[in-house]
Amino acid sequence: MADAFRVVKARGRLDASTGVLFEQECRSVIDSGVSDLGIDLSGLDYISSAGLRVLLVLAKQLKTAGGRLALYGAKKPVQEVFDVTGYTTLLDVFPNHDAAAAHLSMR
């Protein structure tokens, strides 16, 4: 069964240098009419506070539009960055795709 939400994969690095492009990529998906967005973090090796800021901006934009953002699959160091900064509770963070899908299937 196809997911009712779109998924964008984050790969490599999410920092002050690469964050702008990733934000544009996600915004173009959102602007195409997507309300619920999943971001697959399993290929993300590195995130800085500038990368966190991009995720927060996207979450705010989706929430304003009545949509939701689900993050999933973070590697351990990235997950620790979420935990330390409070992003684990601030945003919807899940261990894997299925958990994110289960969350987004509820209204």
């Binding site: 690095r13 590195y46 800021r53 979450a59 705010k60 929430k63 330390v84 601030l90």
Partner: protein, 138 residues
């Protein structure tokens, strides 16, 4: 004994990104665990990005040195920015929800939380920040 990593770069985002990537390759290649590898790069990134945002001497260069010890990774950052003590700056309120959460401000929180040592001194017209991140015991 691994040779220390040293670099001198211009304080600008693309150079900082390249430097942190090189630092991770260096640490990972030397067998440092994924957590320490990520967090050493992150602390350097946050400190240098802060110099760019708030304290940069235009066109100034920053120096970074990384040393691998058996139980931790030590690093030193020399920058020509305005005096800035990362131990003293305020950190954001974490108890707010998505709409009210201030964008940004978490960089320093990461620096203070993920390091096991954090020292600062003003050295002439430069900031000298020294920090360490614990390695996983094997």
């Amino acid at each position: 004994m691994t040779t220390p990593f040293t670099a001198e770069i211009r304080a600008e985002p693309i150079a900082i990104s390249a430097l942190t990537e090189q630092a991770m390759e260096y640490l990972g290649g030397a067998g440092v665990d994924a957590r320490a590898t990520h967090h050493v790069a992150l602390v350097i990134d946050e400190m240098l990005t802060n110099v760019v945002s708030h304290g940069a001497a235009p066109g100034g260069t920053v120096g970074v040195k990384i040393d691998i010890l058996p139980d931790r990774v030590k690093a030193e950052i020399l920058d020509p920015g305005l005096p800035f003590d990362p131990r003293a700056a305020p950190v954001p309120d974490l108890e707010t929800d998505v709409e009210n959460r201030a964008i940004g401000g978490v960089g320093l929180l990461l620096v203070r939380t993920l390091t096991c040592e954090l020292d600062y001194e003003r050295s002439g017209d430069r900031n000298r920040t020294r920090f360490a991140v614990a390695r996983a015991s094997t």
